[in-house]
């Protein structure tokens, strides 16, 4: 039996978006069985990488909980759609990087959480060399 995993796909296979664009796509919960999942969280967020401690903020968050009566069917892909904000834009700096991603976190009834994440670029992926 395969390891449970989350596959995320963006519509149009796009990876670069501008502020105000609609980011949409779907996620598939693979190798999960019906009733095995307690909750699924879908987040569109940014986080920092680099030398500093990680900061993150969620732009859009949705939680589906089987215990609260939400229908979670792993055989059918879930969809997401969100209008992207004005900032912060993706950035590749010397000490600091800003990344955007869609993250899907699955809480099975038994066992460890399964997390799938797909990074995208908001803006033109600025880097420190082009900071000015």
């Amino acid at each position: 039996m395969n390891e449970p995993m989350v596959v995320i796909r963006f519509d149009g296979n796009g990876r670069v978006y501008l502020p105000g664009d609609i980011l949409s796509g779907e996620y598939r919960l693979e190798s999960f069985t019906f009733g095995q999942i307690r909750a699924v969280e879908i987040s569109v967020l940014w986080f920092t990488e680099g030398k500093g401690d990680e900061d993150m903020a969620v732009h859009e968050f949705q939680r589906l909980s089987a215990d609260d009566g939400d229908w979670i069917d792993p055989s059918r892909p879930g969809r997401f759609s969100v209008v992207l904000p004005n900032s912060p834009l993706s950035y590749d700096g010397a000490l600091l990087k800003i990344r955007w991603c869609v993250r899907v976190r699955v809480f099975p009834r038994k066992g460890k959480q399964v997390v799938g994440q797909r990074v995208f670029t908001l803006g033109m992926n600025y880097c420190s060399a082009s900071a000015g």
Binding site: P19, T48, D55, F61, S87
Partner: protein, 433 residues
């Protein structure tokens, strides 16, 4: 193999290699124990001190008694002998004679012998006094009543345990089983990342970009806005002088001791080796203080004004620079500078590192003089390339833009004054819409 046994190991900041669940449970147990200790302490103080005092004040029955004997009782405490008055009295309960010994209801001892003797001297053997007995247990008597202030002060100890333990436990319990995303989304996270100006609905139109409010609240005389400095020379001077005084006060005591040993013919070379670098650092701080004093008092104010703010990529702006004073400049330079600043924890230390990632020269003039009547006044253009990254600020990371004036003055220390600006993403016309 070592990975198997790595239960809770801290790497850097909040990143951990061990089990988050076990770490959370450990913290919950830790704070729970704190709370429990606070509860036990509170109950003990209530039972031993506060409730007996309240009962003596409100429920005890008043009567008269005759003092039959008195003595100053002693007991040995951690810090030596402790004392309290012990007075044997006779009194009547429902017509029946009784004899008991006591003074205050708590029976607390004190190390202040004179005060306890003075309290004892207020009662004479054979004299008649008011007393109060417990109707539930008439053997319990009090010759004085009231509340002592230190009893209430004592509540600070269990109160602190209750507060720290309670808040920590509730915080941990609230976060139990919640993902970082959920905590961030519901605002229950310690990560506070919305420093931008908030809209009415609570979400910023430009998240993670600092508000330009502090920069645009000062109108200019030549251009629209006068920019504030990041830290004024006076503030820097106060800081440097403060550190210098504290450091040198400690260093002076040590140096005096070292010198004293040398003078008395018993030099301590190890102490000398330790104190010498401290004293040198103190001299360095004195030099830095004088240098800062010269910059703050000798070099006149630098004013910078800008035609518009906040800035946007592809935007064109005018900058006005004014430098006052009576100085002979080797050079003065105005640049647009981007600095990344990050903060990270290593163990119990929090460190900050910054790096200049972009510097664009806007104006430079070499070898000239200014006097008090004719300050340097210069205008220059600032055009931001379309690929300029916007300002960014989160809890531990930031990208800050500033206009920086670097001055080299003959006979004076070099100086640098920075004026932060905020760059927003998008073109100016988009922002206007």
């Amino acid at each position: 193999m070592s990975r198997t046994f790595r239960i809770y190991e801290k790497k850097r900041g909040d990143r951990r290699t061990g089990s988050g669940a076990i770490a959370g449970l450990g913290e919950a147990v830790f704070f729970g124990l704190f709370f429990l200790i606070g509860c036990v302490g509170l109950v003990a103080i209530l039972a031993a001190l506060i409730i007996p005092q309240w009962r003596a004040n409100n429920e005890f029955v008043e009567t008269t008694c005759v003092v039959r004997a008195k003595t100053l009782a002693e007991t040995r405490g951690d810090d030596g002998l402790l004392y309290r008055p012990e007075i044997t009295i006779e009194y009547r309960v429902d017509g029946m004679p009784r004899q008991s010994t006591g003074y205050d209801i708590c029976g607390t001892y004190s190390n202040d012998r004179d005060a306890q003797l003075a309290a004892l001297d207020q009662f004479d053997v054979g004299g008649q006094y008011r007393c109060w007995y417990d109707p539930l247990d008439p053997e319990k008597v009090a010759l004085v009543r009231g509340y002592s202030a230190w009893t209430w002060l004592l509540l600070i100890v269990p109160g602190s345990f209750l507060l720290i333990g309670g808040v920590g436990f509730v915080y941990r319990a609230w976060h139990w089983g919640k993902s970082a995303e959920r905590r961030s989304a519901t605002g229950a996270s310690p990560i506070r990342l919305r420093p931008g100006h908030a809209e009415a609905n609570g979400r910023s139109a430009f998240p993670a970009i600092p508000s330009p409010g502090d920069i645009t609240n000062s109108p200019g005389t030549t251009l629209q806005f006068r920019l504030p400095t990041r830290r004024s020379d006076a503030t820097r001077l106060v800081l440097v002088v403060g550190v210098c005084l504290c450091w040198n006060a400690v260093a002076a005591v040590l140096v005096v001791d070292v010198v004293h040993r040398f003078v008395s013919g018993k030099p301590n070379w190890l102490e000398t080796a330790v104190v010498a670098p401290l004293a040198l650092a103190g001299l360095g701080l004195i030099y830095a203080s004088f240098r800062q004093l010269l910059i703050a008092t000798g070099i006149g104010p630098t004013l910078l004004e800008i035609s518009d703010h906040p800035l946007h990529p592809s935007g064109k702006y005018e900058v006005f620079l004014s430098q006052a004073g009576r100085l002979r400049f080797k050079s003065i330079k105005l640049s647009l500078v981007a600095t990344e600043e990050v903060r990270y924890r290593q163990g119990t230390d929090t460190r900050t590192e910054s790096r200049c990632v972009c510097q664009k020269s806007l104006f430079q003039r070499d070898h000239f003089e200014i006097n008090s009547h004719e300050p340097l006044e210069a205008r220059c253009d600032l055009e931001l390339p379309p690929e300029t990254m916007h300002s960014f600020k989160s809890a531990n990371n930031s990208l800050e833009w500033s206009l920086v004036v670097d001055g080299k003055v003959a006979g004076w220390p070099d100086y640098q004054r920075a004026f932060p600006v905020v760059i927003y993403p998008g073109k100016p016309e988009e922002a206007a819409r």
